[in-house]
């Protein structure tokens, strides 16, 4: 569903975190939000999903929601946010239990989400038995089981090691192809942005403003082809040029809190 962010500002007490963000995201589009640390990208994601109240401005959806969507805005969290006392399938089912679905439909949805994320044989396992990558797959399955209109990913791969991250990026591309939600992907990893997003929105240092929007014209599914390697490197270089100085300044900032 098309998503509209209009004049969103946010401040934590006297500290301004976001300054007048205006952004329209098309149906089925994947937008990556990048920027130096503390630029308010996670704050913006919290506002989009209704977990934080913006100081000013508003976020809205237009058009009819998908018929089978139970929860229009759904998160994938950096720290997975799994319940350690629930098995993999019960963690995924948590998103459905209060929705008054029939037992058969619930089971079917959970099974489909587990299949999509390659977790079918781990349904009975507990989070502590799983590697970080598998835990995040559970987080993704739980997000998809409600068939969200907008999928909000808050640094989903940041807690993972480089190899696992690579594997999950490949998985995400497969999932992207099969599941047509609108996606907002917060990351500080430029490669993730270059490989997974249709558009990359670069935020400035605190208070976060939109500095630049970079559209990547090659479809996401085709970017792993060898002829596009140069393009990915070029995108990465451009993004880094945009944020390098600010990242360096942000890194040297002393935190007040």
């Amino acid at each position: 569903m098309p998503l509209h962010i209009e004049g969103v500002c946010h401040s934590y007490g006297p500290v301004a975190a976001l300054d007048t963000i205006d952004l329209d995201i098309a149906d089925g589009e994947t937008v990556a939000l990048i920027g130096p640390s503390g630029c308010g990208k996670s704050t913006l994601l919290g506002i989009i999903g209704g977990l934080l109240q913006p100081t000013a401005g508003r976020v809205s959806l237009s058009g009819p929601p998908p018929a089978d969507s139970l929860n229009p805005f759904t998160y994938v969290f950096q720290d997975f946010a799994l319940l350690p006392w629930r098995s993999v399938s019960a963690n995924v089912a948590l998103a459905l239990e209060h929705r008054r679905l029939g037992a058969a439909e619930s089971r079917e949805r959970v099974a489909a989400a587990l299949a999509l994320t390659g977790l079918t044989e781990f349904a009975a396992a507990y989070p502590k038995q799983l590697s970080g990558g598998m835990r995040q797959r559970v987080g993704i399955a739980r997000a998809l089981v409600v068939r969200p209109a907008v999928l909000l990913l808050d640094e989903p791969l940041s807690a993972l090691d480089a190899q696992t991250r690579e594997l999950l990026m490949e998985d995400l591309l497969v999932i992207w192809a099969r599941e047509k939600s609108t996606r907002v992907y917060v990351t500080h990893n430029l490669e993730e942005a270059a490989r997974l997003a249709d558009r990359v929105v670069v935020l400035s240092r605190r208070p976060g403003r939109i500095r630049e929007v970079l559209r990547i014209d090659v479809p996401v599914a085709e970017r792993s082809r060898p002829e596009h390697t140069a393009l990915l490197i070029e995108v990465h270089r451009k993004l880094w040029a945009m944020i390098r100085d600010e990242a360096a300044t942000a890194e040297r900032e002393i935190q007040d809190v």
Binding site: G50, D79, W85, L94, K128, V146
Partner: protein, 262 residues
Amino acid sequence: MSERRPIPFRGGGFAPTPRRVVPWLVFAVLIGLWQAASSSGLLPSLFMPSPAAIVRALHDLWLDGTLMEHVTASLKRIIPGWIIGTAAGLAVGLAMGIFSSARAAGLPIVSALFPIPKIALLPVLILWLGIGEPSKVATIALGVFFPTVISAYTACDSVPRNLIRMGQSFGLPARDIVAKILLPGAMPGILAGFRISASVALLLVVAAEMIGAQHGIGAFVLTAGNLMQTDQLLAGVVMLSVLGLLISWGLGAIERSVLRWR
């Protein structure tokens, strides 16, 4: 090429490893030394009876039923006192963990009353409730109540906020967030609090029985001391130790089954 020198090993140690035999060995050696000192007359039996004498006293007390009589009397105070104190403590503590207004209302009172040694309230409870069972049960319940309140609300605080945000992001109603996220997440802290409150209950029952009771292990130990029956006195102390171990073993079993996911 210069000489090759092997690198000396500097690691190892500082990693607790279980030793099966050592604990038993320590017990055996200590009790053996004690028994030897008693048998050789080094320890006067009036002040420090031998382990054998204590076992004999325990055996006799078991046979004539005195032991069970006193243990039962104590348990009849501990169990209701602990249950009442725990139920009330969980209700108040969880309310303080969930609702800010309950915390604002409860925290000053709990902080002010928690440090009072609850046995100091026994005289006033006797005034109110009489010398019988209710005043002792009430002392234990009060002693159990406060640590339970504190462990319950700190356990709620220890549940990662991000799990609650997660629940909200999936549209879980507040009731479900409490039942499915907050309470299970607080369970380890609550059960750890049970260990503390159980030891408080054991302490208070003995103290209360020493102040005014015919029966109960505390009363029995006090009487034995007054009559210089040190073997019986220490038999009572051993019984308390066994009771404490049984309680802690029982709580351990509950923890293992409830917290299997850990």
